[in-house]
Symmetry: D3
Subunit: 239 residues, 6 copies
Amino acid sequence: MRILVVNVNTTESMTDSIGRQAAAAASPGTEIVALTPLFGADSVEGNYESYLAAIAVMETVRAYTEPFDAVIQAGYGEHGREGLQELLDVPVVDITEAGASTAMFLGHKYSVVTTLDRAVPMIEDRLKLAGLDARCASVRASGLGVLELEEDPDRAVTAIVEQAESAVTQDRAEVIVLGCGGMAGLDADIRKRTGVPVVDGVAAAVTIAESLVRLGLSTSKVRTYAPPRPKTFKNWPPR
Amino acid sequence: MRILVVNVNTTESMTDSIGRQAAAAASPGTEIVALTPLFGADSVEGNYESYLAAIAVMETVRAYTEPFDAVIQAGYGEHGREGLQELLDVPVVDITEAGASTAMFLGHKYSVVTTLDRAVPMIEDRLKLAGLDARCASVRASGLGVLELEEDPDRAVTAIVEQAESAVTQDRAEVIVLGCGGMAGLDADIRKRTGVPVVDGVAAAVTIAESLVRLGLSTSKVRTYAPPRPKTFKNWPPR
Amino acid sequence: MRILVVNVNTTESMTDSIGRQAAAAASPGTEIVALTPLFGADSVEGNYESYLAAIAVMETVRAYTEPFDAVIQAGYGEHGREGLQELLDVPVVDITEAGASTAMFLGHKYSVVTTLDRAVPMIEDRLKLAGLDARCASVRASGLGVLELEEDPDRAVTAIVEQAESAVTQDRAEVIVLGCGGMAGLDADIRKRTGVPVVDGVAAAVTIAESLVRLGLSTSKVRTYAPPRPKTFKNWPPR
Amino acid sequence: MRILVVNVNTTESMTDSIGRQAAAAASPGTEIVALTPLFGADSVEGNYESYLAAIAVMETVRAYTEPFDAVIQAGYGEHGREGLQELLDVPVVDITEAGASTAMFLGHKYSVVTTLDRAVPMIEDRLKLAGLDARCASVRASGLGVLELEEDPDRAVTAIVEQAESAVTQDRAEVIVLGCGGMAGLDADIRKRTGVPVVDGVAAAVTIAESLVRLGLSTSKVRTYAPPRPKTFKNWPPR
Amino acid sequence: MRILVVNVNTTESMTDSIGRQAAAAASPGTEIVALTPLFGADSVEGNYESYLAAIAVMETVRAYTEPFDAVIQAGYGEHGREGLQELLDVPVVDITEAGASTAMFLGHKYSVVTTLDRAVPMIEDRLKLAGLDARCASVRASGLGVLELEEDPDRAVTAIVEQAESAVTQDRAEVIVLGCGGMAGLDADIRKRTGVPVVDGVAAAVTIAESLVRLGLSTSKVRTYAPPRPKTFKNWPPR
Amino acid sequence: MRILVVNVNTTESMTDSIGRQAAAAASPGTEIVALTPLFGADSVEGNYESYLAAIAVMETVRAYTEPFDAVIQAGYGEHGREGLQELLDVPVVDITEAGASTAMFLGHKYSVVTTLDRAVPMIEDRLKLAGLDARCASVRASGLGVLELEEDPDRAVTAIVEQAESAVTQDRAEVIVLGCGGMAGLDADIRKRTGVPVVDGVAAAVTIAESLVRLGLSTSKVRTYAPPRPKTFKNWPPR
């Protein structure tokens, strides 16, 4: 089984990091192919970049010429999953949803700890649309930008742990979801320090994608995610 | 005051039609500039095209070099409004939200009548995110594609009236919102036939945009719609 | 176009203030007629006075003999809008709903800052019924009574700014709505001090009323707001 | 114990009927005093009359000079309960809420069967505000006006049974609430024909009022229902 | 009228205490029979004991050979009410729901003060399922275990008052519900200290059960609570 | 990895069938151990049996002396999952939640098709509590009892397909979840006939349990699912 794990930003080192995290979660026999978008921003921290990433991820997957069995969109709180579902016959798993869905099997309420304050409403919106918000205690920001996570993992762990602890004691979360693709790899550390289960969306998404493939399940094509109708495109795709 | 009204598809005749409808609703002294996206599909009828339109509308507005006072995104149920709000200092009005918001001043519940069945969940999602769904009785599809509306207005009116009547009698709607930018101009006809107020999103958006400008109000920049952070972009914008 | 702006209390100076605020927001060619209820309390700060105001506003509008194009109910969080919609063929706009509806175009979440603590649940109830509560971050009280706002505007601004700041930082509001007809005129000052958009319900209502009139839209009469059925009244109206 | 049961319309025969129904539900030792409002419409079938009734019921209770232990507002889906709670130290029970609250002890979902179609949104709004709507399967209209119920009880029973049956089979209600003060007395008949429990709001309200009195409980005065602040009234009460 | 009040734990002294509280709330002519479950834990403070109590309460009631008119399940936030409703033809009242339902007649929002932190999610879940959560401001834990309430009532009152005060000032509750069967008898004391109405679920349940019996109402049998279908049981009931 | 799959009824042939379905979904290296409860009903079709099953499943798992890595509760819409989570350190997966959670990755809305009409509210309640109801289009009953599914699979498929088709066309479901442990094995057949993805809760639960184990995740023990406190039990467990 081959699963494409698509980064939403164009920073290759982050693609590598996501790919390693995905590979660590994969079953024997699952090949993880980590892709960097063909175009877009070096980090996605707002709606403009996120919308650009949405279309970049779609075009990147369409340009991938080898067969594959599932796709993971590895940006937390980002746009675009619905479009991938239309374009593809194989299952599509968004790490925002994967993280929340997995957390709900582990405790009464969960919280998400993300990067910047401005990402909070984006994540809240994605969880609301996904219908996975009823048991979300809070979405909290560590205040670190996406790329800062990589530059200084110790500081990242400290900042995330602080928010995680507030989520558990004040917001009554019982599980923490790491709300950024770039946090991949910090979960064990944070779990040790907070004592609650910590879900990494990328790892969760890998297991869900594998499960759907093994169960022979994929996106329903009867309505919302039917294949795009034939269109005439102007100036697209860019040469 | 100059308001940009941006079509989401690349069909010029539809841009013209939307522009005329907007101009008809505008106050004296308001200049309507109707824009066609620089790239994208000839009609938007699904998530792939919609995401592409989201980014195309943003780039089109960014490429517009004259001053302007507000922007209307003239695609019903489409993605992208949040990105525009980040990029711009002037008010941004989405016709989906404008239609719903206006309808809520006119009756206890409203319904949206749109084009294809597959657009229904997209519109439901937009209304849910906008927090304008509590008084939405239903979103109904006429079964006509976006371009069919222009080709055969009589058939369009008939199909839309049929759904509007079901919305009023079965779903208990008291107001109908036309759920497609391409329906601009059909409102008077449908109002006559159903006896309930019919809201055209484009016209509603023009009055809301004008109102915000006159009140000196624009998008809050303290969190969700703060300007994008500086980024390094790869292969973007397309040459 | 003539718009009636009806105060909910019988304090003439407050009617004047509301009228001036409305006039400042009106388009050229719009005549604002500010009305004081024929009966009722000198300020409305609870349900008893609010219900009395509801019926007083209705009777006052019915007693107005000149033609008019729209009515604004200028009490924040008060009862009665539904009755006006039944009685009249022209659009009716409640400032509570106008403020919220306008705020929702400007930020991800809004908060209302009102007068007394006891007004908070009333406003929450009106927003809930209007289906405009999903993006309401909080309703906060400044602790000042309605008439104190006029007596000491400086103190009012200070108290309101304090609550507005808490709304932005703690409740994550991105827009502030002034939750009292008597706050008309304080918006510019508060906006300067908080840095977020501040919506005055009266001004917002004027632009919405004008918009509905210009669009030829008015209250749906098919069900909830159909004209009252013929009744025999005992001891009413009072001689 | 003396309980005031206040009709919302000025039709004395309906006050009598409500009083009898209340008395039939009362415990030994409870005196039911049925009051007709001092002013208002002969039947309440819309928001204008309902708002008028709200204030009329309040003034009628205030004009009642004997001691009493609780007040029941005997109009289904009407305005005004909050005002009574402010004015009085004794418990106030609204029959809309009493009926719903009682029904929720009897089955998984309940439906309300009321008079006219236009009453449906009013009842839905009252239940929503009361937070008693989550288990409401539907509010259905029999199509009969308030006074028609008295004129032709057989026809009323037939029309109500028909809607009750649809509520049970189509809307999955397991309990029926009679949604009109004027339906008092029809419950046994309808129960026999539908096989599900039928709750009469007036009878339910009597038992709830008695219970609150016996438990020594009354309206909280710390915030929403604190006594009205001192006011200067213009032209009120009417001479 | 005979009402069975069934404790959920096997501590006889607590059954006695609950029985006394129920008797104090009962009308003349109502006989309260307090039952201790035939099996189970000495206190119920989690889901395992609660599920065990659910089935123990059912078997205990089934083993009761005298006639009775209603059953009260006297465990706050516990499982099992639905099963009793299936098994019995007489009304079943859960004290969690009785307390909430009664509180809703007394103020705009209510809070529950319970024993241990771990009981909070259980109570939240019961209120959500019962559709009585919309006006619940908070569920707060005093930190005392069920049996500690009996051992040291003074300390219990102090701890509960502290949470009640926070509920009123911070969570904006206007009514307090005592969230444990074992708190029966503390209500007067707490009411005196907080100034808001305090509802004891056991007392409230007694009046509701009496009311249902007097109104001739009992559980609907058309669907959810139809009698159990005939089954073959293995190893049950235990010899 | 060893996963216990616990039937909720005492019919051994159904345990076998569930075990086979689970084994078919399991990864190589996963051992499925299907358990029949030590006591309880031969089929669970209502709350009484379901509560009994809840405690029976818990005692059965406690009595299992070999090591295991996860537990699946294989009754659709049944009680008890929270208790298992308290008792165990390993992950617990309920098939109701597993089915819904999986379906949400496959389409915009899903419907559940279950056995008897009376099971519908039970399933709705479980989904509501799990916070997985927002995208549930409907829960529909095929009208067949649990044991009838085994006796006549052809008739079962026909009845389920009919409801599935109504769910897709009328309720706008895009995915079908089989709402009964006893439906295990019918999914492929139904998928073929309806054209939408069909999720079997047992199979879904196996993959989720495996995933949690592989990710090293288990139930959070900080609050709701902390281990039971020490208790003294009367007459339990049964000898």
